[in-house]
Symmetry: C2
Amino acid sequence: MKYINFENDFLPAKDEFFMQEALKEANLAYEADEIPIGAVIVANGRIIGRGHNLTERLNDVTAHAEMQAFTAATNFLGAKYLVNCTLYVTLEPCVMCAGASYWTQISRIVFGAYDPQRGFKRLQSSVLHPKTVCIGGVLDNQCSQLIKNFFIKKRKS
Amino acid sequence: MKYINFENDFLPAKDEFFMQEALKEANLAYEADEIPIGAVIVANGRIIGRGHNLTERLNDVTAHAEMQAFTAATNFLGAKYLVNCTLYVTLEPCVMCAGASYWTQISRIVFGAYDPQRGFKRLQSSVLHPKTVCIGGVLDNQCSQLIKNFFIKKRKS
């Protein structure tokens, strides 16, 4: 766990800091030959849950980074909801993960790369909880480049 | 596990039979004071995964009946996808579960009661995998009555 004493919870620098942490998770996935997507959940400047894509290792197509992080964070808190928490995730959440975020009532979502194919934003109706704020494009290039590299590597192998 | 030798995979009577099995799961949830929603996954007339809502017991708002059943079925098959499988679930899946079903590539979804508030069908864009067929309203009354009874009991207690 990391404790970061930022005075303002909504500084862009803070978002980039935690997106770097999500990228570390994405890199773990990359090294494990999983599609490289990573996530962290932050409450009061502290990472309370981490996760990366484990669909291959768990043989479970629903084992997305966000789902791992949601479960880790609620386990850590012993609470049902993730109110006052922020999800940082390197790729725009899919519909499943956006739908899961609704049930967690998470207060804020910050994602890196956009996913026009499977990202939830392509839906016309809002999927998120009405209290959830969502920001996209934080470290967009780094987040998407890692995924591109993964598929370039895959095509070569 | 149950083996049912139906000659036609798509007989309405078969759908009602397996919805009864999903209702048994929903009743297990009801008895455990969970919101009573149940699911089974069927392949070749055989139930290969079961699940009921466990959000309270697991303190996990994403622990929906369908998510349990998806994981159980893929574990049983040792396969990644649920092609040629049918999900029977007593309530119209939410956006998360519909989004999860996309990743499983499940071939068919049959649900009982409609959920106009949180069901995925309220979305204008399709969330399901393009190969997934979806049928609603099987044992609608029984499925919704169990949920109504649960909340009536809750309000009285």
